[in-house]
């Protein structure tokens, strides 16, 4: 058991170190949601009226509405970034070191995903701190109750990324795949506007958004930030995490990129 904990700690520690060394990654992870929060939201505020809806008890500003969605956006980009680093590690060879550790491969991959989720948590903490400095705050206990929600959502998005990375043979192909995942996932969710608002425009887009796991990740974070557990969203996110994890474990081929051709054995 100690060996597992030590390996988990080592993997998280390395991911944090790598993240701290990549200052540009940290800055861009923060700039993206801050631009949405302070520039786009200022324009959208006039166009979108938000009615009173749970978990909010009163009318809220548009900035307050998008805050959880942008926190989820940080996790979404971080999840894809983590999977990009898995493709990079695989191409550069450092994945071999991980996979020749005497621990089960599934545990090592899960540890890698957890490490990515912890890095995502650190990014969201920095984002929420800056938002708080600008006067956009949630109830104080919400900053604690949101942590498990952020970790679970981070794990789900990381496992989606790992599943994607398992289908990609080369690093260069990754950017295209990200565009086909990140933008549809983000815009087809409740991150920027409530789903009822989307329904006014298009019933089928609304139905699609309802089935989007990212929508439920946003809602899980939104409610958790206000100290509440949204069971439907939690079940969706937990279920999607499990499915994506199992699929990525099944699909992950450590040999890809190491061998001249696709191997038949796993």
């Amino acid at each position: 058991m100690m060996a597992y904990l030590r390996a988990l700690r080592a993997i998280i520690w390395r991911e944090m170190l790598r993240f701290l060394h990549q200052r540009e990654r940290f800055v861009s992870a923060l700039v993206r949601p801050l631009v949405w929060l302070f520039i786009f939201a200022a324009g959208f505020r006039a166009a979108l009226g938000i009615s009173v809806q749970p978990p909010y008890d009163t009318y809220i500003t548009y900035e307050t509405y998008v805050l959880p969605g942008l926190a989820a956006m940080v996790l979404l980009f971080n999840g894809m970034q983590s999977s990009l680093s898995m493709v990079y590690d695989r191409e550069m060879g450092s994945m071999r070191l991980l996979l020749t550790s005497p621990l089960p491969r599934e545990f090592l991959l899960l540890a890698k995903l957890l490490a990515g989720a912890v890095v995502g948590l650190a990014q969201v903490a920095a984002f929420l701190a800056i938002a708080a400095l600008a006067g956009l705050t949630a109830p104080a206990p919400g900053y604690l109750t949101v942590i498990p929600a952020l970790l679970l959502a981070g794990l789900m998005l990381g496992s989606v990324g790992m599943l994607l990375s398992s289908t990609i043979r080369q690093l260069e192909n990754f950017a295209g795949v990200m565009n086909f995942v990140i933008f549809p996932a983000f815009f087809l969710s409740s991150a920027l506007y409530p789903l009822w608002k989307m329904r006014e425009g298009s019933e089928w887009l609304y139905q699609l958004a309802r089935c989007n796991p990212f929508t439920h990740a946003v809602e899980l974070i939104r409610f958790a930030l206000y100290g509440r557990l949204e069971l439907t969203a939690a079940a969706w996110v937990a279920g999607a995490t499990l499915v994506f994890l199992l699929l990525s474990f099944w699909a992950y081929n450590p040999a890809r990129g190491l061998m001249p051709r696709h191997t038949k054995s796993q």
Binding site: M2, A3, Y4, R6, A7, R9, A10, I11, W13, R14, L17, R18, H21, Q22, M92, G93, S94, R96, L97, L98, L99, T100, S101, P102, L103, P104, P254, A255, L258, M259, P260, R261, H262, T263, K264, S265, Q266
Partner: protein, 246 residues
Amino acid sequence: MTAALSVTGLRFAYGKGGFALRDVDFTVAPGRFTALLGANGAGKSTLMGLLTRLFTPDQGDIQICGHDLRRNPRAGLGAMGVVFQQPTLDLDLTVRQNLTYAAGLRGLGGRETASRIAVLLERFALSARAGDKVRLLNGGHRRRVELARALLHRPPLLILDEPTVGLDAPSRRDLVAHVHRLCVEEGVSVLWATHLFDEVAPGDDVVLLHRGAVQARGPAADLLAASGTDNLAGAFQVLTAEGATA
């Protein structure tokens, strides 16, 4: 005495292509330096991938210090240290951080990690570079760090896949000498894959791999005698000629 590494009837094919490895049999005796000698494309890296469980053989068994790699991978992988052909250090981390990470993956505790790192840095004359990012080290030093990393958990078996690729001649000699000393002084068993004949000492064991099959194996001196030559390059020519076996 149990062999450090025992490979029996190993077969592996890529997809539906022909076999990359065919009925490979050999052993690495405890405390011996065994050179896996073969030209490019002979199947050395494929064999290394199977030994380190990056791939699974289609057929055959791999025993590491008596542990079946398929049935008990944890014990098998735990008994080996690996230096890969491709550098696998994190360039943006320091030497010490790279070693600490690897120690964690092997389940070493904090105190043991610190003491092992200190011993190995000293042994490989890297103490002064412990706080340097790996990016700042030359190729020879990087290889030494990888060797130190492979030895962190005191493995009885060390597997190195063409570890001198890209090194200049002095660094190459230095690394070969280091690893030979490990066998003599610490009883570590070594499997060293190479295509360079001058990395094999007269007292070493040799497994000669050619087109995915073991063409000859035994002490280097025996192969020389069997081939009727006085150098390994000549022996290689003779023993890999069509139809030759030893």
